[in-house]
Amino acid sequence: MFKIVEKKVLGQDIKLFKIEAPDISKKAKPGMFVIVKIGEKGERIPLTINDFDPQKGTVTIVFQEVGKTTMMLGRLKGGDVIEDLVGPLGKPTEIENFGKVVCVGGGVGTAVIYPVTRGLFQAGNQIIGIVGARNKDLLIFEEEMKDFCHRLIITTDDGSKGHHGLVTDVLKQILAEEKIDRVIAIGPTIMMKFVVKTTQPFGIPTIVSLNSIMIDATGMCGVCRVNVGNETKFACVHGPEFDGHKVDFDLLMSRLNQYKEEEKIALTTL
């Protein structure tokens, strides 16, 4: 049993939980995730560790309500308990001093890229942050990102804040103007696909975090398989971060749609 010690509503459908999990907090590193399962009948879903505090013994998750499990999770309150929390899982982000790094966060992915950005900043990198959302109400972690970005650019699809347009517009401009050593992009699969397309002509190493469907997240079932460089990899143990230029995003998107019909049925039981 893992107690939710703090709950925050960050924006439309986006919630933050700080959870008491002392042992996980001690081993967490940027880029790693946990598996969450609520109740006897619940499914196991992966959520990135957004923050961790080994002193207080807490880990923080930020999630968007997109289906039954995340909606049920969203109904929990501070003081409630989560039955199962497994982690930290996956390989941590590769963090060293690369030079100048662009960190691109889209939607709830901004919460995921936040600890990565912080880690890279602390390792001495020059950081340019690009944070995008559909509209200003969906923007999260803007303030926190500011602390660890030498420059932060906001984009919204509808122009309600910052640059009117997509993260890739801004990214392209930056790549044309300055020498960038690495790009890290975390957000909707389609966004990551286009970020990779944008950096490809410039030949800049680009890291993405793949959000495939998972069950055990220990390498036992193979549901999370992705195609990277024409090899099958398991996102849960070989990833979730991979070299974006080698990822077959179309396959990933197709696999994410596998249970569309069942997800609709699940919502009717909410």
């Binding site: 042992d23 996980i24 081993k27 399962k37 009948k41 619940g42 499914e43 196991r44 039954k68 499990t69 039955e83 199962d84 929390l85 497994v86 982690g87 930290p88 899982l89 069950i215 055990d216 220990t218 390498g219 036992m220 079932c221 193979g222 549901v223 398989r225 195609n227 099958t232 143990v237 396959l251 197709s254 696999r255 749609n257 596998q258 249970y259 069942e262 997800e263 049925i265 699940a266 009717t268 039981t269």
Partner: protein, 470 residues
């Protein structure tokens, strides 16, 4: 053999007492257990068939050396409580073994009666007595010995880990079992289906091990949450690794990542551990398909196929590249599956999986095979027939090709010797690994084997750990 035994006093009853079963057409519509178990009278009748051989050959066939004739004699005398106690001396999980042991190649294969007639139904009797004890609430926890002040960490809660934990707890060692999943039991909970091994029974066995004093920590992925060296730093004096052979295998043919292609591990985990057959009451979904193919010929393939039938498929095909004779699955399972309507496609090898425009599997291209000369395994090698390609129309495919070692824990353990396939090297006699105080057993040492062999390895390891810590 001694002369006396050739002329038993009692008249030999040639056949096993029949065990009632759910009829095939009924049971493919549910996930309830297929064989229903003996009544008291049936059990006594069967126990009476045993001729109590002096040299007790059946015991040799049991990897944990249960005192088979003794517990059977107690059943024959209707001393059920005593029979249960006798069995539990050697086997902490009798309700499981009585159901899933391949008795025909173990204890029952050595039974004297089996030479001319059917052997004594040792497995069925074992199941009966364990069920009887549980259902009549006679399960007794042995009194706990004085604590020895030494602690052992057991990694993995499959049959190997549970056995080590039970044996060491009974000796007074402090034991903590660390399990990666949210439920204990290993393959017994995530792999073997409800209709062969009800999960309530596995839970009762896990509870029994806990009642002996072993502590269970679920959701603990060792290697990530704590490494083996950290377990020693945290106060454990020895570690047992029983993490099974949990990695799925694929064929490496085109189309394997299409939607609707499952590893047997995924398919069975969804259905068993996550109870997807009860979706949407349970949240984890599973595809309810019309035409399913299962590739493979082992017990896991049978379990997958029979699960697919129960999920309501119109047709389930078992695609196997050799012939029926070479299939490694237990005869009983093959027979059950056939009764339930499984369609066998022997001498058939998949070469490509065909998808539709949405990325869903719609067919599997196969080649017909012929059997050639025997290969290294002694089985006749299948050879492709040129130009024999054909397509089976399917909407779900389950790859059941065996498993391999999961590298997650070994990779985080410096100095732990592995063989070339990634399995942990452990001494067959004393279960010791290349690291001091670290022991290993079960599928992670042998590769995919059986429940009872994993328990046997656990028993040996417990004995060695007790010696090491004394």
């Amino acid at each position: 053999m001694e002369d006396k035994e050739k002329k038993p006093k009692r008249k030999i009853v040639p056949n096993k007492t029949k065990m009632p079963e759910q009829p095939p057409l009924e049971r493919v519509k549910n996930f309830k257990e297929v064989p229903l178990g003996y009544s008291e009278d049936q059990a006594v009748e069967e126990a009476t068939r045993c001729i109590q051989c002096k040299n007790r050959p059946c015991i040799e066939g049991c990897p944990v050396e249960i005192d088979i004739p003794d517990f059977i004699a107690l059943i024959a005398e209707r001393k059920f409580v005593e029979a249960a106690r006798k069995m539990k001396e050697k086997n902490a999980l009798p309700a499981v073994c009585g159901r899933v042991c391949p008795q025909e190649v173990q204890c029952e294969s050595k039974c004297t009666l089996g030479k001319k007639n059917e052997p004594v139904a040792i497995g069925r009797l074992e199941r009966f007595i364990a069920d009887w004890e549980r259902e009549n609430k006679m399960v007794q926890t042995p009194s706990r010995p004085a604590p020895r002040g030494k602690k052992v960490a057991v990694v993995g809660s499959g049959p190997a880990g549970l056995t080590v934990a039970a044996d060491l707890a009974k000796l007074g060692f402090g034991v903590t079992i660390f399990e990666a999943l949210h439920k204990a039991g290993g393959v017994l909970v995530y792999g073997i289906p409800e209709f062969r091994l009800p999960k309530a029974i596995v839970q009762a066995e896990v509870d029994y091990v806990k009642s002996l004093g072993a502590e269970l920590v679920t959701n603990a992925v060792i290697g990530n949450l704590y490494t083996i060296p950290e377990l020693f730093n945290n106060g454990y004096d020895a570690v047992f690794i029983g993490i099974g052979a949990g990695g799925p295998m694929f064929m490496d043919i085109p189309g394997e990542n299409l939607n609707g292609v499952y590893s047997a591990n995924e398919f069975l985990t969804r259905s068993n551990l996550m109870k997807a057959y009860l979706f949407p009451e349970y949240d984890t979904p599973i595809k309810r398909s019309r035409n399913v193919a299962v590739v493979g010929g082992g017990n896991v393939a049978m379990d997958s196929a029979r699960t697919a039938l129960r999920l309501g498929a119109d047709a389930v095909y078992l695609v196997y590249r050799r012939s029926r004779e070479e299939m490694p699955a237990r005869a009983e399972e093959v027979h059950h599956a056939e009764e339930e309507g499984l369609i066998f496609k022997f001498l058939t090898n998949p070469i490509r999986i065909v998808g539709d425009e949405k990325g869903n599997v719609k067919g599997m291209e196969c080649l017909r095979m012929e059997l050639g000369e025997p290969d290294a395994s002694g089985r006749r090698r299948p050879i492709a027939v040129k130009g024999s390609e054909f397509i089976i129309d399917i909407d779900t495919l389950i790859m059941s090709l065996g498993t391999n070692a999961n590298p997650l824990l070994p990779q985080s353990t410096p100095g732990l010797a592995l063989n070339k396939w990634g399995y942990i090297v452990a001494d067959e006699e004393n279960a010791a690994t290349s690291l001091q105080g670290v022991y290993a057993g079960g599928d992670i040492v042998t590769g995919g084997a059986t429940v009872i062999l994993a328990m046997g390895a656990g028993r040996k390891a417990a004995r060695e750990i007790a010696k090491y810590l004394s």
